[in-house]
């Protein structure tokens, strides 16, 4: 043993270990951090919480998701329950009906004035007011506002908040069930796209060289194909149905994600910590998923959120051109397309799905923007 300081007496240097005693074991006097340590996600969430539009849109999204889950259970109707004698009913909402809106009334035009007396055609008490009186070829004709529910003999306690469709199905039940399906399609197609994109981009970005060149060219060619044409072709091939829509949306949907991941891999794969891990003998697959991929989580989440409204849009679009899910299952797009056929007669059948899809898309877009600002403050304000 060599000691640097030779002035220390021998017996002090050779005190046996058991003679030592801790001065303080209970109260360690180290100063504690007053603040919590803040990680990347916590920081991002805090930033997001400060942005009002983001939080409002988050609440709207959550509210719509909850409504989509529970409303169809409580309306008392089933989404495929038909009642052809009560078709195309106007909206009637308990409570609000007293205010004169959503009271189940409708103006019937061009009725013979004499028929108003006929209780078979106009049951007792259904006429609210006569809007317009005129003569057509000598016969007195009227436009009359009626309580359409009484007019058709709908039971007193039966309410259809959003009205019914051309088969007498309750529109509210169908709308929220449709929302559930549209959201499911959107989530699953986006998740699938992200998974494919991550794997493709990771391989292409990590290995680089010839592999990368081939994969990038392939993606580029695929990306050049018009998106709509590809989706329609694959829908024709797969036939109608939820699963087909999800698959059709994945044909070219993953390319953007893979590009993003590839760029991120190029950025991070040359870092020292990756080199260190590789020197220690870490396998490629571990390097890709454990060491490099976590760096891309922020942009990835943002990208996925931005893709969701796109997928909702695509679903409605496909429904419009007759390639939606198979009936009687509803989706927002199917309801919009059905409503469009009777837009001028029964605008309520288009109005409610239109409001819901608009609200959903606006909320998702705003939320995605807020999320991007929160996860990547350096990009704030850029579009």
């Amino acid at each position: 043993m060599k000691y640097i300081d030779h002035n220390i007496p021998e017996e002090i240097l050779n005190i046996p270990a058991e003679q030592f005693e801790l001065v303080e074991r209970e109260n360690i006097k180290d100063e504690k951090f007053k603040t919590e340590p803040i990680g990347f996600f916590k920081d991002a969430m805090r930033r997001m919480g400060k942005s009002k539009p983001t939080m409002i849109s988050l609440y709207i999204i959550v509210a719509i998701i909850i409504a989509a889950l529970i409303v169809p259970l409580f309306t008392g109707y089933k989404y495929d329950e038909q009642n052809v004698s009560f078709k195309n009913l106007p909206p009637k909402i308990p409570g609000i009906e007293k205010l004169g809106i959503a009271d189940g009334s409708r103006v019937l035009t061009n009725r013979k004035a004499s028929s108003l007396e006929d209780p078979d055609r106009f049951p007792e008490g259904c006429i609210i007011e006569i809007v317009n009186e005129y003569e057509y070829k000598g016969t007195p004709v009227v436009d009359v506002k009626v309580d359409y529910y009484k007019y058709l003999g709908v039971p007193e306690d039966q309410y259809h908040w959003f009205g019914t469709d051309y088969l007498g199905r309750d529109l509210m039940t169908r709308l929220f069930r449709g929302t559930r399906i549209s959201l499911l399609i959107a989530f699953f197609s986006v998740i699938t796209n992200v998974i494919i994109g991550v794997i493709y981009g990771a391989i292409s970005g990590y290995y680089g060289g010839k592999v990368d060149m081939l994969m990038t060219h392939f993606a580029e060619v695929l990306d050049g194909l018009p998106y709509i044409v590809m989706t329609i072709l694959f829908m024709i091939l797969l036939g109608p149905g939820m699963f087909s829509i999800i698959l059709a949306l994945c044909v070219t949907g993953w390319i953007g994600t893979s590009r993003l991941i590839r760029a991120q891999f190029y950025r991070f794969k040359g870092r020292e910590y990756v080199l260190a891990a590789r020197t220690l003998g870490v396998k490629d697959i571990t390097l890709i998923f454990r060491h490099i991929l976590p760096n891309t989580v922020g942009p990835l989440i943002t990208r996925a959120m931005i893709a969701i409204p796109g997928a909702i849009f695509s679903e409605s679009f496909l429904a419009y051109i007759g390639l939606g899910i198979s009936p009687p299952e509803p989706s927002i797009g199917i309801l919009l397309a059905d409503g469009q056929n009777v837009l001028l007669q029964y605008p309520n059948q288009t109005l409610f799905p239109a409001i819901l899809i608009s609200l959903l898309m606006i909320a998702f877009n705003l939320f995605a923007n807020g999320l991007r600002d929160a996860l990547d403050p350096s990009q704030r304000g850029e579009e």
């Binding site: 060619v221 050049g224 194909l225 018009p226 998106y227 709509i228 044409v229 590809m230 329609i232 072709l233 694959f234 024709i236 091939l237 409204p309 849009f313 409605s316 679009f317 419009y320 051109i321 007759g322 390639l323 919009l336 409503g339 469009q340 837009l343 001028l344 605008p347 288009t350 239109a354 899809i357 608009s358 898309m361 606006i362 998702f364 877009n365 705003l366 304000g381 850029e382 579009e383």
Partner: protein
């Protein structure tokens, strides 16, 4: 420059060829025979199949399909919607309304988007900027067919300013455009908002740049500095937003055409999909791809002319 155009053109042809190939294989891979129907006598079915080369092996069918398109412009024959009529003849009359609708919507939206975006950027932080930003979010989010429904109900039914449907028999061009106004607005709102949002961001950045300060210190007025210095630099990168917009407008027009009964390719495509007339569908899709790829090509080339950097480096995001 010539090399650049040639390269772009080659890429477009390759893509188009790929669309044809994919369409062919997807339609032929469908399980049932097109002429299988209880009313069709097996002999006739066989004859029809022979006539359309359906009895040959797959690769021969593929060869005939591509050869027909290239040498004779033969895109197949409609079998359900207008049986026996060549798909090309059906489509021919339907191209002009579609192209008109799409091109006008795009051409209308670019200057509108630039104006709106510029106003928002110059009045940054004022109420008008807030209002525009709010409208931009709505116009970007809400799908064009929802706008179309809304416009159709409001401006043809509640306020009868415009005809409900497209008036193909309209005497004058003005009357025709009048009946096309609503579909054009419905399609243009999204591109306007996208361009405006992009330009607003770009302009705000440029307006606070040092070279603009220099321009002002040189003695230029704010308007002069904005138009001569800020504007030009902000305008060039818009190309990257316009190309994705084309696909959006083309897709939206499929549905909007049907809503306003515009006798274009959109309505025809929906009808042929619903009727299961796959030959016609494929022909329509190929034409559709051709139109959208041509538009992309035109914009690509014109931006190659405007901005030499794109020409040399290739368009990359």
């Amino acid at each position: 420059m010539f090399k650049y155009i040639l390269g772009r053109f080659g890429a477009m042809l390759l893509t188009l060829f790929l669309v044809m190939t994919l369409s062919f294989w997807i339609i032929r891979l469908m399980p049932m025979s097109i002429f299988e129907h209880p009313d069709v006598h097996p002999t006739i079915q066989k004859m029809l199949e022979e006539q359309m080369h359906l009895d040959k092996p797959m690769y021969m069918q593929y060869y005939y399909f591509i050869e027909g398109i290239i040498t004779e412009g033969d895109f197949g024959t409609s079998v359900k919607i207008r049986p026996g009529m060549s798909a090309f003849e059906i489509i021919e009359s339907r191209i002009p309304p579609t192209v008109l609708l799409n091109v006008v919507s795009l051409l209308f939206s670019i200057p509108m988007g630039i104006i709106v975006g510029t106003i928002a950027a110059l009045k940054r932080g004022k109420w008008i900027d807030t209002l525009i930003s709010f409208l931009i979010v709505i116009c970007i989010s809400v799908p064009s067919f929802v706008f179309a429904s809304l416009l159709q109900y409001t401006f043809t039914f509640k306020l009868p300013w415009f005809p409900t449907l497209y008036d193909s028999a309209a005497g004058s061009f003005a009357a025709m455009m009048h009946s096309l106004t609503l579909p054009i607005i419905a399609l243009a709102l999204n591109p306007i908002a996208t361009i405006a949002r992009y330009l607003r961001g770009e302009l705000i950045e440029t307006l606070s740049s040092e070279y603009l300060l220099l321009a002002r210190t040189k003695g230029l007025t704010r308007a002069q500095a904005t138009v001569r210095h800020a504007f030009r630099n902000s305008l060039v990168p818009i190309a990257n937003t316009i190309i994705p917009l084309i696909t959006g407008v083309m897709g939206g027009s499929l549905v909007v055409e049907k809503m306003f009964a515009v006798p274009g390719m959109g309505g025809q495509l929906i009808d042929s999909i619903l009727a299961g007339d796959h030959f016609l569908t494929v022909a329509l899709l190929i034409f559709y791809s051709a139109i959208s790829l041509c538009t992309v090509l035109i914009i690509d080339i014109s931006y190659g002319i405007i901005d030499p950097r794109i020409r040399i480096g290739g368009r990359k995001e």
